[in-house]
Every structure is written in C-alpha cells, then in structure tokens.
C-alpha cells in the first residue's frame, strides 16, 4: 500500500491530514467516547452527582420490555425490508438483463427512487394510504379491509416495511443488474445445451453465481433498514401507534428528546455502535471474498 516514488517533507503531510483528522476527532471520536463513558455512569435525580455503576445501565436497559421489543422489531423490520426489496429487485433485474429493446430506458425509469429522501418516502406513502383521505385506502375499504395504519400497529408496521422496501428497489436493482451482466453468457448457453429450462437455469446457474451480490446486498439492506428508516418512521408514524413502529434508532432519538436518563441513552448508543461494528465487519470480510471470487 506504499508507493515507491514519494515526496520528502516533515510537516506537509500533517498539514494535509489535519482538517480531516480534526473533524474526525472532534465530531466522531470525542462524542463516541462520551457515549461510552456516560453509559457506565449514573446521575442522581437532581443531576448533582454521578457515580460509576459498571454495567447497571445496560442491565436496566435489557430489563426494559420496551427496549427488548424494539430490538426484536428492528431485526424483524430489517429482514422483512431486505427480503421483499431484494426479491422484487432481482425479478426486475433478471427481466432487464434480457436483450430487450429500450433496456437503458428501463434502467433509468427504475433507478431514480434512490434519490428520494426517507422522510419524503414517508410522506408519499402515508398520503396514499392515509385512513381518511388516501387514494388507495378507498379501494381497501371498498374491499372490506378495516384499514387504519394510524390506529392499528400491525398495519403501521406493514406500511413502514412496504415503503422502506420500495425506496430500496432501485439500489438493489442496479447492483443485481451489474452482477447479472458480469456472468458470462456462455455459462447460460452451456446450461441451455444441457437442456435446462429457463426456470431451472435461473436456480441452478444464475442464483448461485449471483450469491456474492445477494449476500453483499443483504448486509447493505440490513444496515439501511437499521438507520435510514428513521426518516420514514418519523414522517409516517412517529413511532406510533403506541410504540408499534419504534426501532432502535428511533428509540435513542425519542428517549433523548424527552431528556430522561443520560446513562440509559448512552447505553443505547453503545449497543447500536456494537451492532454497526459487527455489520461493518461482516461487510468487509465479505468484500474481501468478492475480490478473489
């Protein structure tokens, strides 16, 4: 990772890394460290004294049923979003990979939702499926569905999953298409000569060859569902009805707004930090494999 041809200078390299280093230390490491320290401290009710309490904040946190529910919910949302978005995007990518007229146009028309911000996604979908004025809700009610995501927690969760998956289709589509185009066409021809029908070709040839892409996207989608759903949830349900759409990130945010327990809020942050480290670790181990694939 080192060049042979380099410059000699004592101070210049430090001056060049200084801006990034300053921002990273002030706005990333210092607050992260604060969160870790806070998570081991307990403040008394008046904020007058703090004491070191080891893992008490964490134990309290995991004893709190609402927190445990948020953990389960976050994982459930993540997998539901990842799987629904990935399967639909894969279907579209397999279709767009065929030698079709206008395939560039299809790509353009399918990738732009990547650019729609999560809070806007939330607004778009709640408007369509709003219980009293949504254009789709009319038909749902006409079909006899008792549709009210503002009162029914399961419907609200479904709506979040649906809209978050919708936003992620374009991203997944783009990477699936790139993955499909990287598979040499001769492989399919060989399978076809062996007499494999298209469906069989997909499951025995395409799918295994695509598995690195699928795994990579699975991780990316889970990370997305963990963090980027915040904007969708905040504009759509604000965690409600009750706490039925509160995810881990949403809980850190809303608990902090209430300004309650500093130690608990810090412990929540640290738990999230550990989850990110694990997910990033998986991602990097995998990316290394992809290079040698």
């Amino acid at each position: 990772m080192q060049k042979q041809a380099i410059f000699q200078s004592k101070l210049l390299p430090y001056a060049l890394v200084a801006p990034q280093l300053a921002i990273v230390l002030i706005f990333f490491y210092w607050p992260a460290l604060q969160a870790v320290i806070q998570s081991f401290l307990l403040q008394d009710a008046f904020g007058l004294s703090t004491s070191f309490v080891w893992f008490e904040n964490y134990i309290e946190l995991f004893r709190e049923p609402a927190y445990f529910e948020a953990v389960v919910r976050t994982f459930f949302f993540s997998f539901a979003i990842a799987i629904s978005s990935l399967s639909f995007a894969l279907l579209l990518a397999v279709m767009a990979d065929k030698p079709l007229r206008g395939s560039m146009l299809y790509r353009t028309l399918l990738i732009w939702p990547y650019a729609v911000a999560p809070p806007v996604v939330g607004v778009l979908w709640i408007f369509m499926l709003h219980p009293s004025l949504g254009v789709i809700s009319r038909y749902l009610r006409a079909a006899g569905v008792d549709w009210n995501p503002l009162l029914d927690g399961n419907q609200a969760a479904g709506l979040i999953i649906l809209s978050a998956a919708w936003k992620q289709i374009s991203y997944n589509f783009l990477f699936f298409l790139a993955g499909l185009q990287a598979i040499p066409k001769s492989v399919f021809e060989a399978a076809a000569i062996d007499g494999a029908r298209p469906m069989r070709r997909f499951w025995t040839v395409t799918f295994p060859l695509l598995s690195p892409t699928i795994f990579f996207l699975l991780v990316i989608n889970i990370v997305y569902a963990f963090f980027d759903t915040f904007g969708i949830i905040d504009t759509m349900t604000r965690g409600g009805p009750g706490t039925s759409t509160v995810t881990l990130v949403y809980k850190v945010y809303s608990d902090g707004l209430l300004g309650g327990n500093l130690g608990s809020s810090a412990a929540q942050s640290v738990v999230l930090m550990i989850m990110v480290i694990v997910l990033t670790g998986i991602q990097f181990r995998f990316v290394e494999r992809k290079v040698t694939y």
Binding site: F7, L16, P19, Q20, K185, I220
Partner: protein
C-alpha cells in the same frame, strides 16, 4: 439467449412496466395532489387526474409556505438544503483527497494510525452518537448555522479510501517526470493528480450531493429556527397531528420540490451516478 422466446420477451417487458408503475405511482399521486384543491383532498375525494391549481399551489409553496403560524417559504428551505448539500459534498471531497494524498505520497510517523483513525469512522454513523455530538455542536455555538449543519458530517472514510485506491494506480513515472520539471509536492498535486482525479471526483460528487441533500436526522436535531430548516425537516413539520389542518397540496408540492434536485442529478448524470454508487460501496 439460446431458444428464442417471443412470448418470454413480452412477459419481460410487461413485468418491467409493472415495476416502473409501482416505483412511479407514489410520485405520480404526489404530483397530482399538488395541483388540486385542499378541500377536495381532505374529503378523500382526490381525483387521479391533474387539477387546475398548479401555479397557485407552487407559488404559495415556494414563496409563502403553509398558512400555519410557523410558516416558512419552501424556496428558503431549498436554499438551506442546497448550501448544506454542496458544503457536505465539496467538503468531503476536499478533505478526503488531501488526506489520501498525504497517506499515499508521503512517509511520516503515524501514517497508518491516521489512516485507521479515518477508516474506523465508517463504524460511527451519526445515529450511534446523536446526543453527545449534539452537545459538542451546541458547546461550539454552531446550532442553527450552516457550519453546524455540514461540518460534523464532512469527514469521509469512503471518499478517502476511494482516492487512496485511485492514487495507488497512478504510475510512479508521472511523479518522477514532474519532479524533473522541478515541481514540488503541491505543484504535482495541483497540476497532475487533481486533473487525473476529475472523473472520480465527479462521480463522488453526484453521490455525496444526493446524500447531503437527503440528510434528515442531523438537521432535525440542530435546527430550531424556522429560517434554518432544510426542506426534509420542513416537510415533516407541515404534517400536523390533527389531520384536518394539514394542507396536503402544499405538502405534496414540497415533496415534489424535495425530490426534484436529487432525482434530476440521478437521471441526467446517470453514468457518473452509477459509477459513484458502485465505487463507494467497494
């Protein structure tokens, strides 16, 4: 493909158009709603065809805002978002390219430690350090300011990695040649490396601009003044909990305006966008 398959092709076209319809429908509804009368929408009688209020709704949205007490023209919110997005995109590129330059082209104590310090920030997204970061920005008196909106987000491990990777592929002969010409490190960077990095910078800019424009959690926390709101935060505040008071045509016009710049960038600079997206994920 081998056995050909007229019907299969039609099926493929059909499925793709269904996909496009699903992807486009929510946005179509938003555009339609932004041309209609609020009373009609509030009664649940919105038409699925364009209404006649296009100019009036967009005029009010951009220049006036909602009729609520905390009204703020969306034009101003867009300006805030634009400043923030540009500051984030340009800032990230600028500080990443110079740190990558130092790490690749110099040997100095703690070089690798610094590289790792930057790299590990990948694992510290703003969501995991929300309130401590808020506190620091508050202590630095940067709440409700453009600096507060952009500065804490300007570090970029991804961009630094990308430039480092790119610099490693630049032939050593270039440096030797410019050294013979008497160029020092800054001259070489400016005259040789920067022009070579143009495509990478452009691809990265497209992705980072979208990322910056779409920021939500951070601006939501640190802006309290209405005139510092970004459009993503502004749209959330327009939806009142008492549904009857929400002015949906304006909300939908704001949604359309919020989507316009990033979607435009994706569609018009598609090649750069795809390149940037694929490269930043490597």
């Amino acid at each position: 493909m081998v056995e050909d398959e007229g019907i299969r092709r039609y099926v493929a076209h059909f499925i793709l158009w269904i996909g496009i319809a699903i992807v486009a429908f929510p946005v179509y509804i938003a555009i339609i709603a932004s041309t209609q009368d609020n009373a009609l929408i509030a009664n649940g009688q919105m038409s699925l065809l364009p209404g006649g209020h296009f100019f009036e709704v967009y005029y009010q949205t951009i220049f006036v805002g909602t009729s609520g007490s905390t009204r703020e023209p969306v034009g101003n919110m867009m300006l805030n978002s634009l400043v923030m997005a540009l500051a984030i995109a340009i800032g990230k590129i600028a500080i990443s390219i110079i740190s990558a330059y130092a790490i690749v082209y110099f040997r100095f104590p703690f070089r690798m430690s610094i590289f790792w310090i930057i790299f590990i920030t990948l694992m510290l997204p703003v969501e995991v350090r929300i309130y401590p970061t808020y506190k620091i920005v508050a202590d630095l008196h940067m709440l409700d300011s453009y600096a507060g909106l952009s500065l804490p987000l300007i570090a970029s491990a991804t961009a630094t990695l990308l430039f480092r990777q790119f610099f490693m592929t630049v032939p050593d002969e270039l440096l030797e040649a410019s050294r013979i010409d008497g160029a020092g490190p800054l001259r070489f960077f400016w005259d040789t490396l920067l022009p070579l990095s143009r495509t990478n910078m452009a691809a990265l800019f497209v992705i980072l601009f979208i990322l910056g424009w779409n920021q939500y959690l951070w601006p939501l926390l640190i802006t309290t003044r209405d005139d510092m709101q970004t459009i993503q935060v502004g749209i959330r505040k327009m939806i009142t909990t008492t549904d009857a008071l929400t002015e949906w045509p304006i909300v939908m016009a704001t949604a359309v305006l919020a989507m316009l710049p990033p979607v435009f960038v994706v569609v018009v600079m598609q090649k750069l966008f795809v390149r940037g997206l694929v490269e930043t994920e490597k």
